[in-house]
């Protein structure tokens, strides 16, 4: 079985500083990490591979060359092929363009199933998995919390999706795009000490626009149909808070407040 995991290296949102006056995010200074949902997708794929040595797992990502070390870290796991699609021309692409770029590369690769995360930490739109599926003419599902490993092969997958009120089990024909959430709890294995020291710098495949052949108007900001023009900090109206202790007096204050507002 051949699985392609499509992942994104994202800034750790907790380390981002927003410079509102200059409308820039100092994301470059932020710590980068494998998007958590995507890590779950890869973890599931590696689990399948652990039980089936013939399984081939490729990890594909699109991003600047600066994410290279993160992609190399993934090669130190049991990943068979790592591919980074990177070209200055692609910078500033929206989801529509990103999915077209990823799709053009992936269409040249053999696969039975594409695994992705559902949401990314930074944008959080969940557009790319869906639009990638549309680009490749495949079915797709977001919000997967469990894939049945015994019903996952080159013909079909059985998996669970959680929404508001229900957990629904679906069966989908392969090839398709399955997008997993953090709630799945799939965890990446630790890298062994010997692998940690392994030099993998020759193993990562770099794909540029020379390989893909997009025209300049098709990609980057010019090819995109949406443009971020402003960034606003979130502000909240502060209230005149009344601080009380966790004692008889404080509890009475809360109690009277609740009574006065009709909650009791």
């Amino acid at each position: 079985m051949k699985i392609i995991c499509v992942v994104k290296i994202v800034p750790d949102v907790d380390s981002i500083v927003c410079d509102v006056e200059n409308n820039i995010l100092t994301g470059n200074a932020a710590r980068m990490m494998l998007n958590p949902d995507d890590a779950c997708a890869l973890a599931f794929a590696l689990g399948v591979k652990a039980g089936d040595p013939d399984c081939f797992v490729e990890v594909v990502s699109m991003g600047p060359m600066s994410v290279r070390p993160h992609m190399e870290d993934l090669l130190r796991l049991a990943v068979d092929r790592g591919t980074l699609i990177s070209d200055p021309m692609f910078e500033g692409s929206d989801t529509l363009v990103t999915s077209a770029v990823l799709g053009r590369y992936i269409a040249t690769r053999p696969f039975d199933c594409l695994l992705t995360g559902s949401h990314s930490l930074d944008g959080g739109t969940a557009h790319v998995p869906v639009q990638l599926a549309e680009t490749l003419g495949l079915d797709q599902m977001l919000g997967i919390i469990r894939i049945d490993p015994h019903q996952f092969d080159s013909t079909r997958a059985v998996f669970e999706v959680e929404d508001e009120k229900t957990v629904t089990t679906y069966e989908m024909e392969m090839p398709c795009v399955l997008s997993v959430t953090r709630q799945s709890g799939y965890k990446l294995p630790y890298v062994s000490l010997s692998d940690m020291r392994r030099d993998v710098s020759d193993e990562l495949v770099i794909i540029t626009n020379q390989d893909l052949g997009f025209s300049e108007t098709e990609v980057g900001p010019t090819g995109s149909r949406t443009k971020v023009v402003n960034r606003y900090p979130k502000t909240y109206a502060k209230k005149d808070r009344h601080i009380v202790g966790n004692d008889e007096e404080g509890i009475s204050y809360v109690f009277n407040f609740l009574k006065q507002k009709g909650f009791l």
Binding site: P11, V13, I16, C18, L25, T95, L96, L121, D122, G124, T125, A126, H127, V130, Q131, E134, T135, D139, Q140, M141, L142, V158, E162, D163, E164, K165, T166, V167, T168, T169, Y170, E171, M172, E173, Q183, G185, R225, T226, K227, V228, V229, N230, R231, K234, Y236, K238, K239, R241, I243, V244, G245, N246, G250, I251, S252, Y253, V254, F255, F257, L264
Partner: protein, 314 residues
Amino acid sequence: MKKTCIFQDTEKTENTTDLLEVAERIYGQGQFESHAVLLADSFDPLMGSFHHIIRVAKGLVDCYDPQGICDILENLHKKNRFDSILIPGTSLGEMIAPRLAKRLQTGLVAGVTDIKRAGDHTEIIRPAFSGKILEGVLHTGNGPVMMSIRPNAFEYKPGDPLQTVVSAYTEPVSSPSAVTRLHVKENRQTCDIRDSEVLIAGGGGVKESFSELYRLADALKGTVAASRKLVDQGIAPRSIQVGQSGKTVSPKLYMALGIHGSMQHMAGLRHIASLISINTAVNAPICSLSDIVVHGDAREFIDRLMKKIALYRS
């Protein structure tokens, strides 16, 4: 006259009308023609609010098939040439909107929470970076303008009733998904935290005593909610999470027990009439939004308040 197409909120049909508020903010009141596309049998709550209701004929498409639903919306767009297509950001909507945008080769703004008009421009506002900041997005290209709307972010106040024209969509779907629904199981949580007027919410400070919150919620006829911290640790289910990656809530009373109040949590608090926070740190961000801050341990607070309530009720 501008034309807007609004897809049904499949989780709560009556909330479909809230998307009219989005259209009004873009085009102005009475300046657009609204088309609602419905899969549901019941459309009574939408009568009088939309100019057109297009009902998809029964059996044409499975309600969980994004490809099939996209076919229908794409066809309707070819016929009607909508200026905008608005899709509720439900789990189904999140799978329909990007696919349709790709087919129509148009831009899509996801999880929209606000609209700003500046001259001829419509700036579409959405939270980004886990709700840390708001992004203002412009739609470039020929359109239609496509958005998915964050549930509960807009509220529509109906004006004079319209003469709604109801029509049926009967064209067969050309490319349905190869997906089968095997079975559906009810989630443990039956009450939606978005419907509750009283929310008793817990954060990292109550991870040892989260179950205690249910006692207080029962006493105040409320519902228990949680911050991301407890959800990520598996202590609370995702369905009761408040925040950017959870739900947006507007209860009358929000009690925040052991919640720090990160940006991503506050992104889920919309209209809160009264906020009481119980925290060992009085300078936690959530405390600055509170009416009352109780300085202390949440579990002791629950015990003491429960005693007081029990005494009052007896």
